[in-house]
């Protein structure tokens, strides 16, 4: 109530001021204000163009000198003139894949709980708590991973190796805890809040009438969710997954801590060590001495940028589709 009165007071104040200003021939104020806002809105687009230009410009030396060689060379070892990107690309994709395998089912289960199964108040408390995971800085995830998750994995990994799973080859090698697996696990926890929040929102946009029709036919909650809500919200959920994917691909600090920084070969198994694009940039930049080293690292950054851009755009397309379908502006 109080705010509405304040609004009305504000409005009439604005009116008086408006009349006064028109009398003083301040006709330029409106177009100027409009242009100010347009410029500021365009700043994001300009920054994006500048970013692309700067990345291309600074990796030009590497692009012209190395050509396509980095794309079919494994080892990153500038000291012997090997600027392979494959070890980094491989690590980025494998850790992201592990993260999505873990995070997507978890996120969908949590979203289902938040939308369908619990009281709205509890739903908000749980939802906010899980959203808070997104506020924890990457570096703290990395430290937590190194000091908490890795010691646990050092105990669990020998046990996995002793089960039939161990014979698959996925879990071969010394169980030292650091490597692809912990990086994937931590990434999963880091993208969980993003996928959960967007999935919850799109599941919440499914019209109640449609769901009630399902319940009216005698369906259980799970059946309604699986056959009606998930289908209705499919494009939105796809958007959520791609959004999480884009985040996981570019994550740096946590992964730099946990991957183990092996740059010159591909990892043999989930327990082996490796690198990712962002980890290579973060860990090797300090050692880059020659201009070509720096340029090659920025080229890696350009590759990462282009990959994440594609996934972000795909996510935006799916989310826009979900929005059109439900006719909401959210």
């Amino acid at each position: 109530m109080r705010t509405r009165e304040a609004d009305i007071a504000g409005a009439s104040g604005g009116g008086r001021a408006g009349a006064r200003l028109r009398r003083s021939h301040l006709k330029l104020a409106d177009p100027a204000f409009r242009w100010l806002t347009i410029l500021c809105a365009a700043a994001v687009a300009l920054a994006m163009i500048a970013l692309t230009g700067v990345l291309v410009g600074n990796s030009w030396l590497a692009i012209t000198k190395l050509g396509l060689k980095p794309l079919h060379t494994v080892a990153w070892a500038p000291s012997i003139g090997s600027y392979g990107a494959l070890s980094s690309l491989f690590g980025t994709f494998v850790t992201t894949l592990i993260a999505m395998v873990i995070a997507v089912p978890l996120a969908l289960a949590v979203a289902l709980l938040l939308v369908e199964l619990v009281h709205p108040v509890l739903s908000r408390v749980i939802g906010t708590t899980i959203e808070m995971l997104a506020a924890i800085p990457s570096i703290i995830f990395g430290m937590w991973g190194i000091f908490v998750v890795v010691p646990i994995l050092q105990k669990v990994e020998p046990w996995i190796q002793s089960t039939p799973l161990g014979r698959l080859g996925l879990f071969s090698g010394p169980p030292i805890g650091i490597g692809i697996l912990p990086a994937g696990i931590i990434l999963a926890l880091m993208v969980l809040p993003f996928i959960t929040a967007v999935s919850r929102d799109v599941l919440g946009m499914v019209p109640t009438v449609v769901k009630e029709a399902g319940f009216g036919m005698g369906s259980t909650t799970f059946e309604v969710t699986r056959r009606i809500s998930f289908r209705y919200a499919l494009s939105g959920i796809a958007g959520a997954v791609f959004l999480g994917l884009g985040r996981a691909l570019g994550e740096t600090m946590a992964v730099a801590f946990l991957l183990g920084g092996v740059f010159d070969r591909l990892p043999h198994s989930l327990l082996d060590q490796g690198t990712s694009i962002s980890a290579t940039i973060a860990l090797q930049f300090g050692e880059a001495t020659k201009p070509l080293d720096v340029s090659a690292l920025i080229e890696l950054g350009l590759i990462l940028f282009l990959i994440t851009m594609v996934f972000q755009l795909v996510a935006q397309v799916w989310l826009a589709r979900a929005r059109r379908m439900t006719g909401s502006r959210a």
Binding site: G10, G14, D30, A109, I139, L304
Partner: protein, 301 residues
Amino acid sequence: MSADTMPGPLSAVPLRPRSVARRRVVDRLVTSLAWLAAAFGVFIMGWIVVTVVGRGIGAINWAFFTQSPPAGADLGGGLGPCIVGTIVLTGFAAVIGIPIGFFGAVYLSEFGRTGRIATAIRTITNVVLGVPSIIAGLFAYAILVKPLHHYSGFAGSVALAFIMLPVMTRAAEDVLNLVPNELRESALAMGAPRWRATLGVIVRSARAGLITSTILAVVRVAGETAPLLFTALSSPYWLNGLFGPSGFFGGPVANLTKTIYDYSTSPYQHLQQLAWGGALVIIVAVLGTNVLVRLVFQRGK
């Protein structure tokens, strides 16, 4: 493709009879799994906070906030310069990112709306929102560090501002979109010029939400490390002046996140202890602000 856009056609539902008991069991099972998943998420959140508090609290004392990091293997010292540095870096990033983000949001919600330009800018903003933070660091390195041949706090702030800008724009636009149209119309009907109606009425009525957006956007970048790796770097010294070797524009600036990164992998126990102390300071600041802001400003919603 039709399955994506339409709730499944009837034919997708198998019509063979299924046991009610089995369906109920499946439903119960999924419900318990959903509870388990949520409990897992909440548990992880708690576990991280407990770990950081448990390991970091021992480092917190007066010296931690007032002294410089120890040299070499010396004991004692604190992260005073790093705390100051992080505040300055984040603050300057806010000076760049918040006003631009705010006015950009005003354009999107008040002038652009559903126009083609606004839609394009909105999409670009969403994409920039997903640019990895390390890329922002490379960008600032390429435009401010490489040409000037020295690291600087300013470059770090620019990288952070790049990350802050789209966060602010999206959040502020969402808030401004909640302002009822009647309010805009009544302000304009009373003869207020557009800028006055916008700043005096619309922005004023969305004040609480805008403050929330601003605070969250600023706090969002305070814990970033990757953008600072090649820009502000870090330093054990207090920030001193503007253009000198330990000035904001002149050289590396001490900051919490990069220092935590360096110390947490250090072989020295006391440096690790300092790193956990720094982690505690960051997590208290970031999570504390998030919780407080939600409690104070979003109670009514």
